[in-house]
């Protein structure tokens, strides 16, 4: 990624979180991966000033307690958090989920490939793009 800030993964499924971690390792992406299990936990993390702000957020949609869409509604209405690019990473192919996510100005919507090689390729593309793109510099 362009900066050395951590990547925040909001994902309730441990196996899926492990897969992201493994793909980043295989791709030699040096950014730390912080995992939060749902939208509520992610907001707690992001609002704690002692935590490092992430460069990007990878967001699952279907999660208990607070799902991805609800998280986006809150994060995109928050002056401090709205600048962080959010990339949806989900199994949902629902048109409604896509439209709602883009209505909330996500910076990408990626359907998780089930095949590991294809999954690594998807993460490689995400990493390439967010290395090419500048990021807002606030939030150190």
């Amino acid at each position: 990624m362009r900066t050395s800030k951590p990547i925040l993964l909001v994902e309730d499924d441990n196996v899926d979180a492990m897969t992201v971690q493994r793909a980043l390792k295989d791709l030699k992406v040096a950014n730390q991966l912080v995992v939060q299990a749902n939208g509520e936990e992610a907001l707690l993390y992001l609002r704690n000033k002692a935590d490092r702000m992430p460069c990007v957020i990878l967001l699952d949609l279907n999660m208990p307690k607070m799902g991805g869409i609800e998280f986006l509604k809150i994060a995109k209405a928050d002056e401090m958090l709205k600048t962080i690019p959010v990339v949806v990473l989900t199994t949902s192919k629902s048109d409604r989920d896509k439209v709602e996510s883009f209505d909330l100005c996500v910076a990408g919507y990626i359907i998780k490939p089930t095949d590991y090689q294809k999954f690594v390729e998807a993460i490689r593309t995400v990493n390439l793009y967010w290395t090419l793109s500048e990021l807002p510099t606030n939030g150190g």
Partner: protein, 155 residues
């Protein structure tokens, strides 16, 4: 090669030479999406609000333009329920931190500083194309497609 869907790419750019460079890079990369160009934010809004035009898959947005610059365009587009869904990628020469922060505050889906070298520029366009082929897009043209199907059936 083409973006996830066959809708046009809207380039908002006042500089003709820069617009030609984007066109050339897309051609070299064999990206088949049509490139539509508006010379400033005002023209882009007129294009986007004309229902007879096909809505773009993504918008590539320059910042420094006469009449209406990129930031002002973003303020209007992102407050418009019909336009806010379309991903906007800033493509500029500005490395100004304020421009970056303002753009991300207005929820851009990327901010790319134009490389001056043509090879590097093509590489940047290749990565943009790769990412927006991987990413899904909102299907804002559904009603449009439906109308086309209706028209076809009526024939």
């Amino acid at each position: 090669m083409k973006m996830r869907n066959s809708k046009p790419i809207l380039l908002v750019e006042d500089d003709s030479v820069d617009a030609m460079t984007v066109k050339r890079a897309l051609k070299d990369l064999k990206v088949t999406n049509q490139l539509v160009r508006s010379a400033n934010g005002e023209e882009a809004l007129v294009y986007l609000r004309n229902d007879t035009n096909s809505s773009p898959c993504v918008i590539l947005l320059d910042l420094n333009m006469p009449r209406m610059g990129g930031i002002e365009f973003l303020k209007i587009a992102k407050a418009d329920d019909k336009l806010r869904k379309i991903p906007v990628i800033v493509l500029t020469t500005s490395r100004d931190d304020r421009d970056k922060v303002e753009s991300f505050q207005l929820s851009v889906a990327g901010y790319i500083v134009k490389p001056v070298d043509y090879k590097k520029f093509t590489e940047a366009i290749r990565i943009i194309e790769l990412y927006w082929t991987l990413s899904e897009l909102p299907d804002t043209e559904q009603e449009h497609n439906y109308e086309n199907i209706q028209a076809d059936t009526a024939r």
